[in-house]
Subunit: 438 residues, 2 copies
């Protein structure tokens, strides 16, 4: 089989994102795995409902049997959510010898033990990277990349809705209800937000994280769960005053005797990275006996981030189907014949903002000379600091931050400035990261 | 073959750490992979030199042939470093049909194209997770977990020595030479520190990251490299004043036309997580078209963190050797028969620090009552805030941070406090993370 056929259960936000990635990256997936992927059919609830543009050429059905009973479908991707009827569908797909990829945390947390046993019995894969942390590859990190460790604890911000609410309460001084209403207006919280704000969603994810971290059975019922409803704007203010941020955390710890599984608001010292994870972002801190502390940060929800994890699972399955076990993952991520050869851009052709520090003789006209040179090279100034240095009364340090400019123009400007009689010694130039652009 | 035999090239810091993990986690590795691992022989430079305790029962040799020509050795782990003679050794191991695991960034960055071609020809695996980011699983993250993305950029702090020096310059106002001398005294910098401070080590790592992120050939010679020698304490101070931290970054970007590969100091806005990565820690920010921004943080060097990556590679290879492709990675990280069943600790048995907020009538004796109750339950107070709330003149909010205590004792104390006549309304209790203990 050169083309691998997929059946998609669910064509909502994540389903649309998955179709979009499969289309956009069809060639890249083939470069990585040697396979073409075809979405053979998608299950929808209502044929009349408008569908995302990327679903225009996908055959749809309202009958799950048309996917579960189709022998040409190799992989079922379950993006419906909830435990029923998805549990029955997933078990049927497994029994029919189909691999399953799911983003369904409730299903895995509550029925994973049963589902994994069925998958073992039928020799198929059940992959669920998208169930925890959205686009953050935390399942793979713990289960594979930290396999040389005894994991001591996992502590994470795994629910974007509660993190958004707590961040808004802190940054804008909103009360809990106001922040929740705002999250609902922006689509970050459901009309019935209890799954998120009471911590149930986080508890599902924690049950999964703990099981893979400790190699123990899934134990959702054992998670002690507290939501954020009791946190007031005052508490957030007092915590700040004491040097802490309040975050809603999912925590799994183990020692020699027992495992602790708990979801609750927690004060975290502000100097820690986890305290700086704001808005809808997620982050998970894993402590292993060998690696020490590691942190994995990214978008915990959303169509494309979640689809990123779904497609990663798909690539994993395709790489296994591709059979040559010694080369499951190509060295450079793509198969040897598919390596690209993009040209290398020389440093002088990059576009960057800059920090400049010059020592100048402090007399009239020197700033005019410098700003004229920058303007001549189409470099504009964003900020300037000029602070007399008492230890060097004869010169004045000037610090400039520029907007983005071409490195070639900056080199020429630096050259011209260094020839000014009033500029003393070398000019320091350091590149600046601006607006997320490197 | 039930036992897999390993030949170890190099028994220095990382070699010692690897032996330590293989010994400590021998049972866990068997639970994960179904295999026992045996270190059959280790190459050392000098038989007379004292060896780490964990190497006491390992056969050693000064002759690489005793490892490379031994048909009983299945996997060669190369931890010598440098390009010669390691390149020849690795190529010989590959030609002899042995899988290779290496932590050698210089070797992969400069000779990876040749080594990967040889491995393809001979059908063996060359794994190199430990070459970049120490214990941070960045190779696996990019090559597998983000395979559903087009990676747009990778930007990271990948050299702990330079990050330590820049952090000390900022936090203690040291000059570059002083900070370097201190790093050398602490063993964070080599006697000849040029590989680190001139950015060559970072350039090796960047070449590897860029190749796997973009699916392009390794291009170490194309990396534009600047060290940190020209950064002064003043620059760091001015950058802080402008709202930035200076970090030594390895940056790979691509667009439709070209790839940029550069290592240089960079001003980063302080609100970004990367600006908060201090000391010897490493972090790598990956931007993918689907996932958006993800960050991977952890220890970039050191015996055990690096060994963590080496053993993860080993587990990967063992899982492939274990043949059942559909179950390469068990659902819960360990094979179904090996799942542990640790008891669950009830919430009242946890040990945590606490934040408490009470509203009290502001009259003499109320603080004495509260502190007496806490003392009776062996709960000690770390900090206290008492701020009159002008909107509620009849009551006074009291905020307490406690040291760690048993949750059961805290529950009892809360119960007793809430029965005090002077305490009004419910008491807010939030758990606090202290000293890295959850």
């Amino acid at each position: 089989m050169d083309t691998v056929n997929i059946g998609l259960l669910g064509l909502g936000t994540v389903g649309g994102g998955t179709l979009q990635l499969l289309k956009r990256h069809a060639d890249a997936i083939e470069r990585r795995t040697g396979r073409r992927v075809q979405v053979r059919r998608a299950l929808v609830r209502d044929l009349a409902k408008p569908r995302p543009a990327e679903a225009a050429d996908v055959a749809v059905t309202t009958d799950p049997d048309e996917i579960l009973d189709d022998p040409a479908i190799h992989i079922v991707v379950e993006l419906v959510g909830g435990c029923e009827p998805t549990r029955a569908w997933v078990l049927r797909a497994i029994a029919a010898g189909k691999h399953v990829i799911t983003a369904n945390k409730a299903l895995i947390a509550q029925h994973g033990n049963e589902i994994f046993a069925a998958a073992d019995q039928h020799g198929v894969i059940v992959a669920f990277e998208a169930a925890v942390g959205g686009g953050i590859p935390i399942i793979k990190a713990i289960r594979e990349a930290l396999a040389g460790n005894r994991i001591e604890s996992v502590a994470g911000i795994v629910n974007g809705t509660t993190n958004y609410i707590l961040t808004e309460m802190r940054d804008r001084g909103l009360g809990f209800s106001e922040a929740l209403a705002q999250a609902q207006a922006l689509g970050y919280a459901e009309a019935d937000p209890s799954f998120d704000i009471d911590g149930i969603d986080a508890a599902h994810k924690l049950a999964i994280l703990a099981a893979i971290a400790f190699g123990t059975p899934l134990a959702f019922a054992g998670v002690a769960t507290e939501g954020i409803g009791a946190i007031s704007a005052e508490d957030i203010g007092y915590a700040e005053a004491l040097g802490y941020s309040i975050k809603h955390l999912a925590i799994a710890r183990r020692d020699e005797e027992a495992v602790e599984l708990r979801v609750h608001p927690t004060l975290i010292p502000q100097r820690q990275l986890l305290a700086r994870v704001d808005g809808v972002m997620n982050a998970i801190l894993v402590h292993g006996d060998a690696v020490g502390e590691t942190l994995f940060y990214g978008a915990g929800a959303g169509a494309l981030p979640t689809a990123s994890a779904v497609v990663a699972d798909l690539v994993d399955v395709l790489r296994l189907l591709s059979a040559d076990p010694d080369h499951r993952v190509p060295y450079l991520g793509v198969r040897p014949g598919a390596i690209a050869d993009l040209p290398l851009r020389p440093l002088e052709a990059i576009h960057s903002a800059y920090y400049l520090r010059l020592s100048v003789e402090d007399h009239p006209g020197v700033m005019a000379d410098i700003t004229r040179i920058l303007a001549d090279h189409e470099i504009s100034i964003e900020a300037m600091l000029q602070r007399p240095d008492p230890t060097r009364p004869d010169t004045m340090p000037i610090i400039l931050l520029t907007h983005r400019a071409w490195e070639r123009a900056m080199n020429q400007a630096l050259d011209a400035m260094s020839r000014l009689a009033s500029v003393r010694g070398p000019i320091t130039r350091i590149r600046v990261q601006t607006n997320g652009t490197w």
